[in-house]
Structures are given as structure tokens and as C-alpha cells.
């Protein structure tokens, strides 16, 4: 590889994607693994991480005579993705063979879709309101895995992934900066995870990105030749690689050079983009309709049923949390990051009638406990209704917020109504003057110096003294009343 053909991180200039006289033009092709139990065309498990070649059968090994039969649930999920992304789902789509030789492609062709894809024309809306177009979504099968570093001089092939169902989401070349590419991917992932289409885990390879990038002078309407960057295994790598490749284009143009259409690879370790070794002009995929599969026909009623399974999407939900439930925008972001959490929050907010308090509880105690315990919120021991009851107790003044946290910890370990727990454990808030005065008197006796200075007019000590009273009462004292009583002594 010549130095001219690579752009390494060390000698790269500062990021200039949107600055300067050049504009970045990016279109992303995103491959997403559909969350099915079995492969696209055979009944092998899609389980990740099993022993090599253990999830294989005549079909995904491409044994002589084996035939593909499409997984109904893969169609469900692909359709759901298309509808959630605002695409037109076609009543008739056709599978095609994409022919090329590679040892992890057992049939010597990939079953994909070509000129009659599942869906066309959708979009993703970014947080800042910008709408980025989606050209098409088609279904296809994954290839196996080639492992190059396991045995000296050999490439090892694992076909467990061979035939796993994917959708490819082809974006319009409307992205104009690396950051925008990142935002697009984030929004896309959020929607797909939300709809249960995919785990979208880049680590496990269930979301993969190829980026087409070109540069052009600002104001120029025509697109210039693009290069395709493959091997992008994290969102930050996508952004980094786009920056590097964009700068290479700009530097090439500024030096009077030309950019040739070619495939580039991103090396995450070296943080560099370099040209893939050309493959002897073999990019003639000879697509033709897959004769083993009749057309995929989707009836209108079926499509409408699928549309009905799509949950409210995160962006819409965030807006509703802010506008209808009074949640701060940043908090809404956290609360909608996962669909199950958002649904839990909504249930708490609805039952307690207090969106803000529900948000504070969910983002604070609930997520902390969830983090600590692991697992998902569906199995969380404090059900939404019990948390709402707890919030109601605080609101009514029956429990102090400190005591409420103690009750919450108990609720994590045992079922039961929060009021009953608070009563049993003696955690109900104390608002009775006599009891409060007794605690204040004790504090006065134990901290004579602070008490004297407070009485002498040092008002800022009031908070300290309230704290002492709260501690003495084990959190049960009603802080509002304690404040009133202290003010009377000042």
C-alpha cells in the first residue's frame, strides 16, 4: 500500500468536514440483522457465539440439492422496519441471486433483492429536525464468517452466520457531515431497536455500516466520484473514517488530483482508511431473479396489521413526554432510550399523575437499581403501580423523600404496599409538633454552639440544624414543619 493511498490518523489535519470550501456528501448503507430465532431460508438457529459451524444444515451449507424457504418472521420484521421508517412497502417483491465467489458464501451467490425490493422511499428525522431520505430497504441473507488470524497461512470459515436474515437500508446521499452520519445512525438504531426489528449491536455484528463518501466544492450541484468505506465497526469509527476519507478527497482535489471510485477499508487499530486491494474487476454480480423463490406477495390487510404492531417511535414519544407530561427535554431523552423503560415510566406517570416526580424516580432510583441488579425492566420488582403509590405518599406528605428512598429499597426485596411497609418500619413522616419540638430540643442540647449562633441571627445555620433534626428522626420529621419551628426560635 502506497503512502499516497492512505490517510493515517497521525498526519491528518484537523477535522474540517463542514468548514472550508468543501462539502462532504455521504450516503450510508446499513445492514441490520433481523431478530429471528432461525435463519432466513432454513430452520437453523441464529444464536450468536455457538461453536463454529454448529448451526448449519443442508441449506446454509449449500449442499447439492438443498433449497431455500423464506422465514415468515423475517418478513414481519423487515416490513415493520420499512413501515417504521416511512417506506412504501411493495405488494410484490422479488428475490435475486447476487453472484460472486467467496469461501464464506457457500452457494456462490447471495440471495438478495435487486430491482424489485421490499420497500422504497422512507426517511429518518434527526433530533434537530433535519429529514434524511431512505432510498430503499431490501431483504437478504448474511454470509458466513472468515477468520484470518486463527491458523497460520489459512482462512477459517464458520457458516453459523450463513443465511441469517438481514435488511439493507440504503440511505440517500443527503448526509453532509460526519456528525450528521452519527446522528442518522443513532436515530435509525433507536427506531429499529424500538420496533423489535433488531438488537442493532455493532459488537455482535447485528448492525453494519458501509459509507459512500465524496467531496465537492460548496455550491456545486453535481456529485463527484465517491469511494465506499467498509469495515466500520462502531459509530465513532464511522465518523472518524468519514472525516479521514473526506480530507483525503479534498487534499487530492486541492493537489490537482482525481478521485477514483473504489472500495476503502477502515483500520480501527491504526485509525486509517486505505484502499482495498482490487479484486481483478470481479464486480459483475450477474443479478437475476432467484428461481427457487416465487415472488413475495404481501396483502393489504397483512400490511395494515404490521403497521398496527409498530409502537410510538422515540422521537414522537419524547415530544409527548415534554409537552404533555412536563418532562425536561434532556430527561425525555434518557427515558425514551429504551422502549421498555419508556413504557414503565409512562405507567408510573399515569398512575401517579405526576410526570416530573415519575421521571425523577425512574431516572434516579429505578435505573440505578436496574443497573445494579441487571436484567430488564419487564421483570423489575417494583411494579409501576407500586412506585406510583410511593410517589403519592410523598406528595401527600405521608412520607419524606428520604424515607421514601428507604421504603423503595425495601420494596425491591419484598412485595407489599408502600404505605404498609412504611407503617411497619416506622417510616411515616412525623408532623406532630410535640415530637418535633422534642427532637429540636435534643439537637439544641447536643449542638449548643450552632444553636446559640443561630439564635444570635446566623440564619444560614438553619439548614444545618434541620439536617441534625432529620438525622435524629431517622428521616421521619416533616422538614417543612421543622423549618417553621426553627424559624420561630431564630
Amino acid at each position: 500500500m502506497s503512502a499516497a493511498r492512505k490517510q493515517s490518523a497521525d498526519n491528518s489535519a484537523k477535522p474540517t468536514s463542514t468548514a472550508g470550501d468543501w462539502e462532504m456528501v455521504v450516503g450510508l448503507e446499513v445492514h441490520v440483522q433481523l431478530k429471528t430465532r432461525t435463519k432466513a431460508f432454513c430452520a437453523c438457529s441464529t444464536n450468536f457465539g455457538d461453536a463454529p459451524n454448529s448451526n448449519t444444515c443442508p441449506v446454509c451449507l449449500a449442499l447439492p440439492g438443498a433449497l431455500p424457504v423464506l422465514n415468515a418472521h423475517a418478513v414481519d420484521l423487515a416490513a415493520r422496519a420499512a413501515l417504521a421508517l416511512g417506506c412504501t412497502l411493495h405488494h410484490r417483491s422479488v428475490f435475486a441471486r447476487k453472484n460472486y465467489f467467496y469461501p464464506d458464501l457457500p452457494k456462490g451467490y447471495q440471495i438478495s433483492q435487486a430491482d424489485k425490493p421490499l420497500a422504497t422511499g422512507g426517511h429518518v428525522t434527526l433530533a434537530d429536525g433535519k429529514v434524511l431520505g431512505i432510498t430503499r430497504i431490501h431483504m437478504e441473507e448474511d454470509a458466513g464468517k472468515s477468520v484470518h488470524d486463527r491458523f497460520a497461512g489459512l482462512t477459517a470459515i464458520d457458516l453459523n452466520r450463513s443465511g441469517v436474515p438481514l435488511i439493507e437500508i440504503v440511505g440517500e446521499p443527503e448526509i453532509r457531515s460526519a456528525a450528521e452520519a452519527g446522528a442518522y445512525l443513532k436515530a435509525l438504531r433507536e427506531i429499529l431497536v424500538y420496533c423489535g426489528v433488531s438488537d442493532c449491536s455493532m459488537e455482535e455484528g447485528s448492525l453494519r455500516v458501509d459509507a459512500n463518501v465524496s467531496a465537492r466544492p460548496r455550491g456545486e450541484a453535481e456529485f463527484r466520484p465517491r469511494t465506499e468505506i467498509k469495515n466500520l465497526n462502531s459509530f465513532s469509527n464511522v465518523e472518524r473514517a468519514l472525516e479521514l476519507e473526506f480530507q483525503r478527497h479534498v487534499a487530492t482535489y486541492e493537489a490537482g488530483g482525481r478521485i477514483a471510485q473504489q472500495t476503502m477499508l477502515f483500520d480501527a487499530v491504526r485509525q486509517e482508511v486505505r484502499a482495498a486491494r482490487s479484486k481483478e474487476g470481479s464486480h459483475d454480480y450477474r443479478y437475476f431473479p432467484e428461481p427457487d423463490l416465487p415472488p413475495l406477495v404481501l396483502q393489504t390487510e397483512w400490511i395494515e396489521h404490521q403497521r398496527g404492531t409498530i409502537p410510538e417511535l422515540p422521537a414522537a414519544r419524547r415530544g409527548r413526554f415534554v409537552n404533555a407530561l412536563g418532562v425536561a427535554a434532556a430527561d425525555a431523552e434518557v427515558l425514551t432510550a429504551e422502549r421498555d423503560v419508556a413504557e414503565y415510566f409512562e405507567a408510573v406517570a399515569a398512575a401517579s399523575g405526576d410526570g416530573k416526580a415519575a421521571a425523577n424516580w425512574v431516572m434516579g432510583e429505578v435505573l440505578a437499581a436496574l443497573n445494579e441488579r441487571g436484567g430488564d425492566i419487564g421483570a423489575f420488582p417494583v411494579e409501576a403501580s407500586r412506585l406510583a403509590a410511593l410517589i403519592a405518599l410523598v406528595k401527600a406528605g405521608t412520607l419524606s423523600s428520604t424515607a421514601a428512598k428507604t421504603v423503595f429499597q425495601v420494596m425491591l426485596a419484598e412485595p407489599g404496599d408502600p404505605q404498609a411497609i412504611a407503617e411497619r418500619d416506622g417510616l411515616l413522616q412525623v408532623g406532630d409538633d410535640a415530637a418535633l419540638v422534642a427532637w429540636i430540643d435534643e439537637v439544641w442540647a447536643e449542638h449548643p454552639d450552632e444553636a446559640a449562633r443561630f439564635v444570635a441571627g446566623e440564619r444560614k445555620l438553619q439548614g444545618v440544624l434541620v439536617g441534625f433534626v432529620m438525622k435524629k428522626s431517622k428521616g421521619r420529621a416533616d422538614p417543612r414543619k421543622v423549618n417553621q419551628l426553627l424559624a420561630g426560635r431564630g
Binding site: N71, P103, D158, L265, L296
Partner: protein, 102 residues
């Protein structure tokens, strides 16, 4: 639209077939001979006939998403030419960085 020796070399490359130079001329002749008969199709109309037939074709039946693949009567090792630790083996790819489309 005569087939040239370069065409045959090109498609042989695409098809991963090693054609000895000595046999090239024979294949060029035979392909030209066969394709000459295909020329009579040119005179026929029918554009769009296949698309029309396809548009009324019955859709495919799908299978449920339940595990239960057709089992193999013998383990992979019993027929694979080269296997180690459960992996199929091929010579290390010179262009191994160049992972093709997935």
C-alpha cells in the same frame, strides 16, 4: 455480438474456471456457434411478457420461525476436505482485508 477470446477469458474468470489457452479457441467457436442461434430471438417482440406473467404469479409460501433444520446424517468432518476445530479451511486470502459484501 461475436464472442471474443477476451470475453471467454473474462467469463471464465467470473466463473472460476481455468480454461487452458489451447482450449480457448474451441470455446470461442462453440459459444459463437450457439449464440448465433440465439439471434433469432431478436426478431421477436414480447417485451414485457415475462413481467406480465410474473405479476399474476402466486406468491411464495413462508415457513414458521421455529428451529428444526433438516439434520445431517453424518458430521461435517466426515465429508469436508479440510477442517480444524470445527472450521472449514481454505488457503489464507491474499486480499483477506477485502471482505466482500455481506
Amino acid at each position: 455480438m461475436a464472442v471474443t477470446p477476451d470475453d471467454v477469458r473474462h467469463v471464465a474468470q467470473l466463473a472460476r474456471l481455468e480454461i487452458p489457452e489451447a482450449e480457448l479457441a474451441m470455446y470461442v467457436d462453440q459459444l459463437n456457434g450457439i449464440l448465433a442461434h440465439m439471434e433469432e430471438l431478436r426478431a421477436v417482440g414480447g417485451a414485457g411478457a415475462a413481467a406480465q406473467a410474473e405479476s399474476t404469479r402466486e406468491g411464495m409460501r413462508l415457513r414458521p420461525d421455529t428451529v428444526g433444520a433438516v439434520p445431517l446424517a453424518v458430521p461435517l468432518e466426515s465429508f469436508a476436505a479440510a477442517m480444524r476445530d470445527g472450521f472449514f479451511l481454505v488457503p489464507r486470502l491474499a486480499t483477506h482485508e477485502a471482505g466482500e459484501e455481506s
